[in-house]
Amino acid sequence: MVLALALLAAPAVGQVASFTMAEDAIEAPLDGLRGDPARGEAVVRNRETANCLICHSIPGAAESFMGEVGPPLAGVRSRLSPGQIRLRVVDPTLWNPQAIMPAYHRTEGLVRVDPRYRGRPVLTAQEVEDVVAYLSALEAPER
């Protein structure tokens, strides 16, 4: 009960880490956190939170019904550096205003947000780092 109250009382500010952008990358890990690829894979495959697979696919037969709105994530490390991946997860519109992909670590400048999510980013700084660690290690499938 005390924990629940504490969670409810958590201020909206401070839920989004500050960062510095250089070109199309955020080089420094958010809040200096270390990402964990295994946790990152769980975040990517979670259909209730970030729901990456509604638009993207990952290698392997474990998942079905993956989307094709965004590019496949396999081998993204050969196209983008960890810092570039970080920026695209945090907020792709910082680099490309026309990007359709949602910003996963942003709370400002959004319109008509469901009251239940107002003031909260989709992913915490730790989850962003976990996803960056997972994607930076994700190999393209062998052909």
């Binding site: 697979l53 989307g67 709105v69 959004l110």
Partner: protein
Amino acid sequence: MTLGWRRLLPLIALLLGAAEVRPTQEYLSPEIRAAQEDPSRHPGWLWVDEGEALWRAGDQSCAACHGSIAGMAGVAARYPLVAADGALLDLEGRIERCRTQQQREPAFGRESEALLALASAIALQSRGMPVAVTTDGPAASFLEEGRRFYETRQGQLNLSCGGCHDDNAGRRLRGDIISNGLGTGYPAYRLEWNTMGSLHRRLRACSLGVRAEQFPLGSREYLTLELFLASRAKGLPVEAPGLRR
């Protein structure tokens, strides 16, 4: 093999031009599309039968003024429209008005079985007919409101309707093929719902999907959006009662 045709959809859309708006039935799987055309395999026909019975029910029945329900051919294709008093009405709103003002009966209520049934039976009379909503005159400002809603990125996921239904129609979103989002099949029986539902219920699901504020059934936001969707569908066939995944 069976997925082959779906892979061609984005290519076809590209060849036809990105602005191409195509009937929703062309985005359905062959199985769903066939069932939508077959009353013996379309559960929505239970609502149609109920709606046709309601049309004739009571002393002050719909039929008492309007005659056979077949006379409603073409009506659903013109909704939503601006009524004489300036209100924007969808088909359900028109039925509710008729019921309270002409029949002096209590309103059925949005999403009630009776209202969905009547709307389905009436919409069926326009099936295959081209959508023919009026978008000028008093409808123009409503249309503009709907267009703004459609084009505005919204929700925690910061997506606009057009981001998916214009720019990515034909592509796969999880297991579904994204359509042009026309609403011409509503009311529709959705397998996900296991029941008949209105377009506004579907729009609430879209709002939820992008983690945006959900508006009430019959709200101004969804009515004006419905008008804009119908303006995109002008000339395309009414598919209601639709069958959807």
